[in-house]
């Protein structure tokens, strides 16, 4: 009477299962963790009791007792972006099938937020941690240093990193695009970017692009879109750009959505692509095959990043990841279509 109606959603405990199955709680625990170490007869009785009572183990109690957890924390700048969300989806699939649960955090491209999220996730005593990129606050670094959780920094490559690294060089992306456009003899270019101030990786692509173009004697006009890509703004900005710099013969974009915005403006103004203006994007989003003309772009290894991040993490957790395999450059390739 006093104990039965407990506060809130309190659930059936292991002890109750044990009582119903006529075994000790330890046996139930053993059955749950290593089923083949309990005799078939008891196993059956225990399973029946579990089913009958609708028993669900309490993850927190288990985690506390064993002082490990099946949690892996993942921080991305935004999940509202097919790049990261596809990586996440792949990562989730691989890690879940190995029994892990993802704890996803949105840093919103904000270092202070990342710091807060790192603390919040570490308080779960996670088995592993996945971060996006190399940029962390000093405080984050010191928190991380006090902690021997395996860490993967993904979606970037080229700096030492904290532990493991899975990504590619964004600078190389910019270079690749630049080289491709330069080959066609074009020299007057523009780079249109979203979120330039906050997204290091977009900036890296720009730098790779600009450095390569300028080294070949060309020029690059940079245009920044405020915040996330907004198609109308992209159109206006493209229009203004071409008005101020009619000499421009190629536009590289920080991603495919921006390129689509630019392309639509070209269609509206009847500027021939690639005749009048060459156009390149980044991301190889699905629609890039079917725009008119199809978009030349860069294919980043979105899903591969998830897959290899999971692989390295699992190997590291099983302590069988040689030091030499801790850093992985997945590279990147130019998908040449008709817009350049």
């Amino acid at each position: 009477m006093t104990k039965r109606r407990r506060r809130g959603s309190q659930r059936v405990t292991m002890g109750e299962v044990a009582r119903l199955a006529n075994v000790s709680p330890s046996t139930v625990s053993l059955y749950l963790r290593r089923p083949d170490e309990v005799s078939p007869g008891r196993a059956e009785k225990i399973q029946a009791a579990i089913d009958r009572l609708g028993y669900l183990p309490n993850t927190m109690a288990g985690g506390l007792a064993s002082s490990r957890s099946n949690v892996i924390g993942v921080l991305v700048p935004t999940i509202t972006n097919s790049f990261f969300s596809e990586t996440l989806e792949t990562l989730e699939r691989h890690l879940r099938s190995a029994g892990y649960q993802l704890l996803i955090g949105n840093t919103e491209f904000d270092d202070a937020r990342e710091e807060e999220l790192i603390r919040s996730i570490l308080s779960w005593n996670p088995a592993g941690l996945v971060l996006t990129g190399f940029l962390h606050t000093r405080k984050s670094l010191s928190v991380l240093a006090n902690n021997d959780t395996p860490i993967v920094e993904m979606w970037d490559y080229g700096q030492p990193g904290l532990d493991m690294v899975v990504g590619f060089s964004h600078h190389a992306c910019g270079r690749l695009v630049a080289e491709h456009i330069l080959q066609q003899g074009r020299r007057r270019m523009a780079f249109v970017s979203t979120n330039f101030q906050r997204d290091v990786r977009a900036r890296d692509r720009y730098h790779g692009f600009r450095d390569t173009v300028e080294a070949a004697g060309g020029t690059v006009e940079l245009r920044e879109l405020s915040g996330r890509s907004h198609a109308e703004e992209t159109g206006r900005l493209t229009h203004a750009l071409m008005q101020d710099h009619p000499e421009i013969e190629a536009i590289a974009c920080s991603n495919d959505m921006v390129a689509l915005g630019v392309l639509c403006e070209c269609q509206r103004q009847a500027w021939d692509v690639p005749g009048r203006i060459a156009l390149a994007g980044f991301g190889n989003l699905d629609f890039t095959t079917s725009t008119v003309p199809p978009l030349t772009t860069i294919e980043p290894p979105r899903r591969e990043i998830g897959q290899h991040t999971a692989r390295l993490l699992l190997a590291s957790l099983a302590s069988k990841l040689p030091e030499a395999e801790k850093r992985l450059d997945l590279g990147v390739r130019l998908v040449e279509r008709e817009s350049v």
Copy 2:
């Protein structure tokens, strides 16, 4: 010597903080939970000790001891879709600022997977649960019934629901689009859908569309894309559709990405939109403003769903949500542009 080097990433405990600050562990705990109930002097000493040791509370231990958790589970069909990911992002922001941590699961439009994820999440003893839609397996329902966790079913509206409901009617979306096209005197139509077999909501939109068109004496050809929208396939399928049914004068799409694929094919074939073919999408994705012509579409309340889901959940957790406010139809509006 024996205790100092502990296995793995074991961290500083509350007791160690207490010792350093010269207070009892309970006082540290109290300071962390209700800081203004400890005297300023001790508070300062405790904070200093926390900072010095880099103490992070152990969420699992806290959760176990207090038998509540700050976890809220969220299941979506896929995070790789701006609809759900924007809802998630908003939900996350609102719930995090109230101190909750999201546990996100990907059902991949699979009921069995949803069932598994529900169990996995309930084992965290979550404070709340957010599901997408009304479709759950019998087993899921029975697990959920044994459990008085507050539940929100989101992104749909029109059925009784388990607890709280925040969404809109997809049937109404289809109807709205149909009515708008019918008004222009068009009667021969097609509906092109992705993921038709698995996505109930796409099917609902189709049914709303078809029912309305047929009630007005029109016809609807249904075309399904295999799996997720693939732009090239969309183009081929559109081409075949128009070859088989040259009488078609309007195409409604299950979402804007599909509509973009159809539009690109129209551009390629030089079929005038909306002159020859009217075109409508769903989602009001960003690029729909700038295609040529801009796309008529439906604006679903993506972010509002997140916001209101958070609001209802928090109110329910504070047990101050009147029964009458447990169901919320956020409605939907047609964004009339130039493609229809």
